[in-house]
Symmetry: C2
Subunit: 420 residues, 2 copies
């Protein structure tokens, strides 16, 4: 065993021990720790800003692009938002130990499913440093210990945030090891962690294709992947075209850099001549570039660019929209099956049969009728805060809140029953 392997095994073993303590921690003590963390994030913000400034300095020196630097930057707004998230989650009901129902079996035995924590969750992410706090607090409320591994460019910021988390846990009588940041930026550390299935119950990778593939290939424990969102909107022949303009605009323009923004529009051939020019009129002045395949281009002319094959199935995360004309819901479904990423898919239609067919037959974590793809979000769907959007079909498909970070075991209450 290498030193690094030993170090990771030691860290994971401490997480497992902490997870056993957490599993029977009261909801009150978990809420208290979250309230304390909210306080610390406001009190000790200067320590976080200082660490963040060092990360930013190095990132700038290494030539990081402006948009990436913005993601890395922490200010009062970001710290306050993290603190607010802590308070929001602290007010959630503790799910652990509850049972939705018990049913009666042989001789009056009661059988039901009790909500239990998953154990140790390893979160591997590339995103903003706020994930450090937001993943940790949701896992904590679900009774899980968390191992966090963020991007190396944010290491010092993540370290400062994780240190506050440890303090909040200890000051609330919970094990400080319940949330641990991997204390090295070595790449090999991830591979070592992914082989520790004895201690780590599930790994959640959140990031781009490279990260997701590495984790899928190497992990020996279950993986809940939070993969990209190549989201489509299909505008049916019978759609309310005025409404469709509002929905497509919202889905593309309101926040283009997120996974539930629309990336590709499919338009029924019977309404393409009416809808596409109106769409260009609405979106182009807002800075949206339309990339149209042949048929769509013949309608849009110089209001669009010619799309290449690479524009379909691509997550632009920008003010760019691929556009394609299709012959109906069947072709739309086929296109989505071939190019979608099982994230969010919408149909706009006034035809009930087409809507029914679409929601039954399209495979995505959220399928919508006559609404914006931007609703694929834990808060919007009514689950509360989320750790991300799972595009894995097992266990949890879609936004993962506290409840989706738990499992369940069977409980049977008998009075001496034996099997006949």
């Amino acid at each position: 065993m290498t030193d690094l392997a030993q170090q990771m095994a030691h860290l994971a073993r401490k997480s497992k021990a902490a997870s056993r303590e957490l599993a029977s921690a009261s909801g009150e003590s978990k809420s208290r720790a979250l309230e304390r963390l909210a306080d610390l994030l406001r009190q000790e913000k200067d320590a976080v800003f200082e660490a963040n400034a060092e990360d930013l300095r190095d990132a700038e020196a290494s030539g990081m692009a402006g948009a990436m630097l913005d993601r890395l930057r922490l200010g009062d707004k970001e710290l306050n938002s993290m603190a607010d998230s802590c308070l929001e989650v602290s007010r959630l009901e503790d799910p652990v130990g509850s049972m939705e129902s018990m049913w009666k079996r042989q001789g009056g035995m009661l059988v039901g499913r009790m909500v239990i924590p998953l154990g140790v969750v390893a979160m591997i992410y590339e995103s903003r440093p706020n994930v450090t706090v937001e993943a940790g607090i949701l896992c904590l409320m679900a009774g899980n210990a968390t191992i966090l591994r963020g991007g190396s460019e944010a290491y010092r910021s993540n370290r400062a945030l994780a240190d506050l988390f440890t303090r909040a846990l200890q000051e609330s009588g919970l094990p400080g090891e319940a949330v641990q940041l991997v204390p090295t930026t070595e790449r090999e550390a991830v591979r070592e962690l992914l082989h520790l299935e004895e201690f780590i119950d599930v790994v959640i990778p959140r990031g781009g294709e490279g990260l997701i593939n590495t984790v899928m290939e190497q992990a020996r424990m279950p993986v809940l992947k939070h993969y990209k969102g190549v989201c489509h909107i299909y505008v049916d022949r019978s759609a309310d075209l005025e409404q469709a303009l509002d929905i497509v605009q919202n889905a593309k323009v309101q926040k283009p850099g997120v996974c539930n923004a629309v990336e590709c529009l499919l338009v029924h051939e019977d309404v393409a001549r009416d809808f596409l020019p109106a769409l260009a009129e609405r979106l182009v002045p807002q800075g949206v570039t339309l990339r149209a395949e042949e048929k769509a281009l013949s309608v849009l002319g110089d209001r669009a660019e010619k799309a290449g094959e690479e524009d379909f199935g691509y997550e632009f995360l920008d003010l760019v929209l691929a556009v394609k004309v299709v012959s109906g819901v069947e072709e739309a479904k086929e296109h989505i099956a071939a190019y979608g990423s099982n994230h969010t898919e919408a149909i706009l239609t006034r035809d009930h049969d087409q809507a029914m067919r679409f929601i039954r037959e399209v495979d995505a974590s959220l399928v919508l009728v006559n609404a914006s793809t931007r609703f694929n979000d834990g808060g919007q769907l009514g689950l509360g805060a989320e750790i991300g959007i799972s595009t894995s079909k097992l266990h949890a498909y879609g936004p993962m809140g506290v409840r989706e970070l738990t499992g369940s075991k069977f409980v049977l209450l008998g009075e001496g029953q034996i099997r006949e």
Copy 2:
């Protein structure tokens, strides 16, 4: 790509295509296929017996032990039982496409979770040939395509059963590829399958430690392991000792060769002197060997053998019971955490507080109070037929019936809503 890799990719690709068709198949057509399979299993039993006789002849020639030969042997009883299972599953409600509830969000949007198939399930098993039918029929009702890989010693029997399955599917208008047996006994075929995460959504290994570990290490898709059952019964100080005798006897003797039979008894020190001699008196005449650690041995004397460290955490699958005296529920819990297999754990007590603590704090797919461990079974718990008992905490922990072979996606029905 080797020929074998190509062959497996081709097979898995056909499964994926079949799973897409199955996902929108009606419950009626799935039930019809299951009824047809029940007919074929009775009509064409001679073909199955013939294939089975060849497997048995080879197995005998290779020196297979008697108990293993019995597991491999198919007779009228086994075929009728498979046919009955087909009819039982054919009468279950089709879960696919149903939604338990929808809740109201912004502006009256309705949001809910629709039950969906998982896609393609690969089942890798070592057990009796009846798993070929029983895994296939449950997956079919859940809308999944199945890839089956049984033990090489049962290949011809499995082949004959799978051929009947294909016929039943085709004669009912469903894709014959919805259930496919891996058409080779080459070991490398499993490794190839486990790398086809593009086509296979989940793999279920059912068998011993070697099989489970191989699958956990190599699989790139999620694994739901059906691992061994090292089940404990803890007899508390306050247990009803007469009732405890009945329960322990049932859990050990009624069917010792199954995963939910008890393998280790933990007895509170205050009742060991009363309970253990009575237990020996009850079980020894029934052929049970007691393997007792020091303290228990001092009570049992020559009615027990001396246990070694290897007797704890061991799945005997036989009329052998490890016995240990403990100081209370705390030590029992610790022993179970160290030696149990997260399968089935029971406490026998009249003390409500001890019972509450045990059900909350013991981590197993089923935790029982005052009942036999033999109840950890889909039928007994009220789930209907099962594919096995998952000891993985994610997705499904415990018996897996049709519902546990499905997932869910979010559906949102809007009327033009956009996100603010």
